[in-house]
């Protein structure tokens, strides 16, 4: 039950562990989320860098690093297909559930939402800590799965049965880990919604909220209502694997010549429905906070009000709503009938419109601006074309006819990575560079940051752009040895290019890591409002103390009052009375 204790005693000194480890302060929890999420992002990316060796040079031993691996994974440095499949499955799982969502929702959401709405903390601080630790447990369980016999889950991050039902132990551990991660998201989403509904500062009506808060609000509803079906599916698959039920196993299965001794009568497509009922809204869970962050940064750096604030709000609400009724476009090739495939194609086309609206609003905001090319602005601006590519390439996948050729090819991978990697991840980097001074009181190094940006920007396009070429050529995804096929052999050169880009991207992240830690000590000290921002988080002391605001803030105006004519400064904070 979601209640927190009410100790009337105020402030007694907390020891280090209470303050920084088992803290219930939303800012500490936010930073915990962000750091854990960033660590997992890097780890998940390392898995991919390993896979990219195999893809670029199939069957050749990986020099140096390859020797570190066991004979069950990379004997002699050559990657086994089962290990490749494990890496693929875990890359997806870690990036989505342990990396991006915790960083975007857990990290930025926790840190910023209470600050931006003028609250002292989240509505349920203990629940918030429980949410983090549940996530942490889920992460630990996922890591443990690397050490169980047979390796971690190897049936893809989508875990389609029957393959996942008959997979090695790692899949069971994966399901357990997912249960923890889902619980964490559910606790978090309840907390966000209650906080946003109940705890906005005086004067902060819904339509004065910063757009980031709106994005988090919609995201929370998606998590709240879309995750439970996956939890149900995980329970059913767990029963299949542990108790011998056959919810996802039809009758008459014969695996490598041996008939399965099961009751049968199940339906493998049922899993896909339950999985994608979550996983499509999950795409918007990944992208909405990113859009929120980018909006904040773009408005702040254009020094003018946001174009079409209300349009944007209605667009994300509509986007969130529609995301629940498009999921079966992931399943066009599972034999659905004319009516339903027409329905899902239509909803898929409809959901593209609000994305266009959002992008257009953000670009038109640039008109008449005075654009400050700060470091976070670099990443925020890069987000726009990258997200555009990601969104546009969804179009041929959303139409069944063109999907026939592109389904389950690298085109799909290119499409969603453009949304999530140069899209969401760039937004998250932008957010880190933007709010780092608020959290630490110091700026991050601009030169290192710009190097990080330009190398990452070029490298990340170098990874994902060739995927469209491979997809058009018809290369199936999840191939351990792409050179097996003549049509894939023809585009094998792109694989070498992509892999090199990926390794360069990996190296570029070292610049970020160095910058992140170095700036903690050596960064230039800043005042409370280094970017001349208007929203409430810039009205707190830096870093914000426990309880955030020195006195309860009162909000007098909308979130983006920049360059108001006749005003001395080019920005009016929301808390400024006139």
């Amino acid at each position: 039950m979601s209640q927190n204790h009410n100790h009337p005693t105020e402030h007694h000194e907390l020891n280090w562990i209470q303050k920084y480890v088992f803290s219930v302060d939303h800012k500490v929890i936010g930073i915990q989320y962000a750091l854990t999420g960033l660590t997992f992002l890097f780890f998940g990316f390392c898995l991919m860098m390993l896979m990219r060796w195999q893809l670029a040079f199939p069957g050749e031993p990986l020099p140096l690093i390859g020797k570190l691996f066991s004979d069950t994974t990379m004997p002699g440095g050559v990657m086994l297909p089962e290990f490749y499949n494990s890496l693929g499955a875990m890359h997806g799982t870690i990036m989505v559930f342990l990396g991006v969502v915790p960083l975007a929702v857990g990290g930025f959401g926790n840190y910023l939402v209470p600050l931006q709405i003028g609250a002292a903390d989240m509505a349920f601080p203990k629940l918030n800590a429980a949410s983090y630790w549940s996530y942490f447990m889920g992460g630990v369980i996922m890591l443990i799965s690397f050490f169980v016999p047979g390796g971690p889950a190897n049936s893809g991050w989508t875990s389609y049965p029957p393959l996942s039902d008959i997979a090695s132990t790692g899949q069971t551990v994966w399901l357990l880990g997912m249960v923890f991660l889902i619980t964490s998201s559910l606790l978090g989403s309840v907390n966000f919604i209650v906080t946003i509904v109940q705890m906005r500062a005086k004067g902060l009506s819904f339509f004065r909220m910063p757009f980031f808060v709106w994005a988090q609000f919609v995201t929370s509803f998606l998590l709240l209502l879309a995750f439970p079906p996956l939890e149900a599916a995980a329970v059913l698959q767990l029963m299949d694997r542990v108790a011998g039920t056959s919810f996802f196993l039809p009758s008459g299965l014969v695996v490598s010549g041996n008939p399965l001794t099961i009751a049968g009568g199940g339906n493998p497509v049922l899993w896909q429905h339950l999985f994608w009922f979550l996983a499509h809204p999950e795409v918007y869970v990944l992208i909405l906070p990113a859009i929120g962050i980018v909006t904040e940064i773009i408005v702040n750096n254009t020094r003018k009000p946001l174009y079409g604030y209300k349009t944007l709000v209605y667009s994300v609400l509509f986007l969130g709503f529609m995301s629940f009724v498009v999921w079966a476009h992931h399943m066009f090739m599972t034999g659905m009938g004319t009516t339903m495939s027409s329905f899902f194609q239509a909803t898929t086309m409809i959901i593209s419109i609000p994305s266009v609206v959002i992008l257009t609003c953000l670009i038109i905001t640039l008109w008449g601006a005075s654009i400050r090319f700060t470091l976070p602005m670099h990443f925020a601006l890069a987000f726009l074309p990258m997200f555009a590519i990601g969104g546009l390439t969804g179009l041929p996948l959303g139409l069944t006819t063109s999907d026939i050729h592109l389904h389950d090819t690298y085109y799909v991978i290119g499409h969603f990575h453009y949304v999530v990697a140069p899209g969401t991840l760039f937004a998250l980097f932008a957010g880190i560079y933007h709010w780092y001074p608020k959290a630490t009181g110091r700026m991050m190094n601009t030169l290192l940051g710009k190097l990080h940006f330009w190398i990452s920007f070029l490298a990340i396009n170098g990874i994902f752009m060739p995927m469209f070429i491979q997809g058009i050529a018809g290369v199936s995804r999840r191939l351990h040895t792409p050179t097996m096929y003549a049509h894939a052999q023809a585009v094998q050169g792109t694989n070498v290019f992509m892999s090199c880009s990926a390794w360069i991207l990996g190296l570029a992240q070292l610049l970020f890591i160095v910058n992140f830690f170095m700036s903690l000590k050596n960064g230039k000290k800043t005042n409370d409002n280094p970017w001349n921002g208007t929203t409430l988080e810039w009205s707190t002391p830096t870093p914000p103390p426990h309880g955030n605001f020195t006195k309860p803030p009162i909000v007098y105006r909308g979130p983006y009052e920049y360059s108001v004519p006749g005003h001395a400064t080019d920005f009016i904070p929301q808390v400024q009375p006139n």
């Binding site: 209502l225 497509v269 429905h273 629940f324 399943m331």
Partner: protein
């Protein structure tokens, strides 16, 4: 909260009334099941009775009948997605063009 003792007394009467109604409906639904209606009718009747029962619980025990609008909005939203979750997978699966599996 604006409950005074007299209010609560009235509530308690309602609770007992609801309890009796629930008990009767439970008996009813069990009794109907012994009639062995055709499957379709049986499902309709059983779900109809269950819906009445759950509405009673939600309306009176969970005070939804006098609950604030905010809560109702949340529940309406949930109900919409609940219907989506019930209907779309079943429709998609039922309408598929696959042939029956003959081993």
């Amino acid at each position: 909260m604006s409950h005074d003792a007299a209010d609560i007394q009235k509530h308690i009467k309602t609770y007992i009334g609801v309890f009796i109604a629930l008990a009767c409906l439970t008996a009813l639904t069990v009794a109907i099941s012994y009639l062995h209606l055709p499957t379709k009718e049986a499902i309709l009747v059983a779900l109809f009775v269950a819906t009445i029962k759950s509405s009673l619980v939600a309306a009176y025990f969970m005070h939804l009948i006098s609950e604030k609008k905010l809560i109702l909005y949340v529940l309406v939203l949930t109900a919409v997605f609940f219907v989506v979750l019930m209907a779309l997978p079943a429709l998609t699966d039922g309408g598929s063009f696959r042939l029956p599996y003959v081993p």
